[in-house]
Amino acid sequence: MRPAFSVIFLTTLCGAAQGLLLTLVAAEAASRAFGMAVPSAFYVSGSALAVALGALGLAASFFHLGHPERAWRAIAMWRTSWLSRECIALPVFLSLAAAYGVAHWAGIGATLEIGALAAAASVALFVCTAMIYACLRFLQEWASPYTLVNFVLLGCASGCTLATACAAWLAPALVGRLAVCACLLTLAGCATRLASLARNARLQPRSTVQSATGIRNEKVEQKSRGFTASAFNTREFFHGQSGATLRVVKIGFTIGAFAVPFVLTGVGALAPRSVAAAVALAAAFVIQYVGLLAERWFFFADAQHPQNLYYQRTS
């Protein structure tokens, strides 16, 4: 598949926003349980960041559409379409995240209750987003529980790293514990992503040129796809990158999304109250986010669409 940059930004930005909000709500619940005082500025600016990232993701998604002015129609088929469900879940998540921040800012009670609702919306949005890909059964690289697990873990890891960076500025008491969580989530995300890479490398395509054409012969070869120019089918489903580029991106995102942020977050947690720590943690998030952009790019490029069997040769 050709990586769609609008969708790459949508899923990574919203993933970070959802992970950030889940971390905020979890932090509030834990700090209340253990009787820790956390300044409300942490929750207010955290949820403002989550809303900003999510809104940027939503804005990016419009660039994917041929007719963005008709986008409102996309809520119609929520009974059957995961994309339609995502289009409903995203604004709900954004509103609840905003309400959570406003509740903290205005000092209204029931912040944890609103937070719980926002967290539920965040989880629902993760499921909708991941199922858009996982439900396409013949895209074998995507049709796997790994897709859901990775979307959740990678979103939570980047969100938690961002929450740790926020805490370094606004709630230093939380940095140690949040950094541990961020490192664990990054590690878990790394493990499941590598597992999904290993799974995809072993995949045997179920469709062959024989099943695609029904020609019964061991050797069937396309001699002409029927046209010499390019077409939607040759542009949308082929990424056109060399194997070497794919390998570089794969190694790059393993380092950028997992190894470097893991180390930087760990280093930042060692001296939680220093400016250097705050800078290291902010750098950890930025590097992890760029790494996740590469990861999502690879997620698309890795998927082999069976329609490509029909477009092997010009003539």
């Binding site: 598949m1 019964r216 070869e221």
Partner: protein
Amino acid sequence: MTQMALVIDLNVCVGCHACVTSCKEWNTSGEAGSLTDIRPYDDDPSGTFFNRVQTYEAGVFPMTDTIHFPKSCLHCEDPPCVPVCPTGASYKRESDGIVLVDYDKCIGCKYCAWACPYGARELDEGRKEMTKCTLCADRIDNEALPERDRKPACVLACPTSARLFGDIHDPNSEVSRAIDERGGYQLMPEWDTKPSNHYLPRVKTEPSCGCGKGAGCGNTAVPDDATLAAQFERGQVNLAALAVHR
């Protein structure tokens, strides 16, 4: 339940692309149009087509078969492109099972194209709407056309009648009989999409007469009547053999 479909006879398709051009010609000016053509006369043209004729080679040289393979939307009975559409623009028409797009509802998200394993859908570059074969929905019930023309443009254009059109749920229809008698099959059965369009396999045709052997065509099975009158009596005149005799 009616399910209209094409049955494509790979045994007689000669790969002339007449179905491709007639499809484009009808549909660019019909209800599904217009179909964009960008840079049509330059070196990198790009345009929307609902139908393509591809060519495959089976076997190892010199024992190879060349198979021309027309491919368009298969109008699946369980179309994976329909439930994924977020707006309901993509739908399967109840009356005849044709998979169609309501262009005014399409937001151009391309998700239906991702969800089609056959690559049957093309996003029109100019209109930014998803387009696909409509089985000429604006022809087949069109009372402004004479009855014999109420068929998809590709079917009417095919010079070898390689394309049959009809209801595959009617066991007595021409298409159902062709599928039964000729071993019609579906593409990518592994995904359980139940394509309505079927393909009739290519079958090696052995010469029925002994051309090139002996004195002439068919004379091995025919009693060697010496005279034309005797052959006339039997009701089978072997003109070729007679020509050889003379």
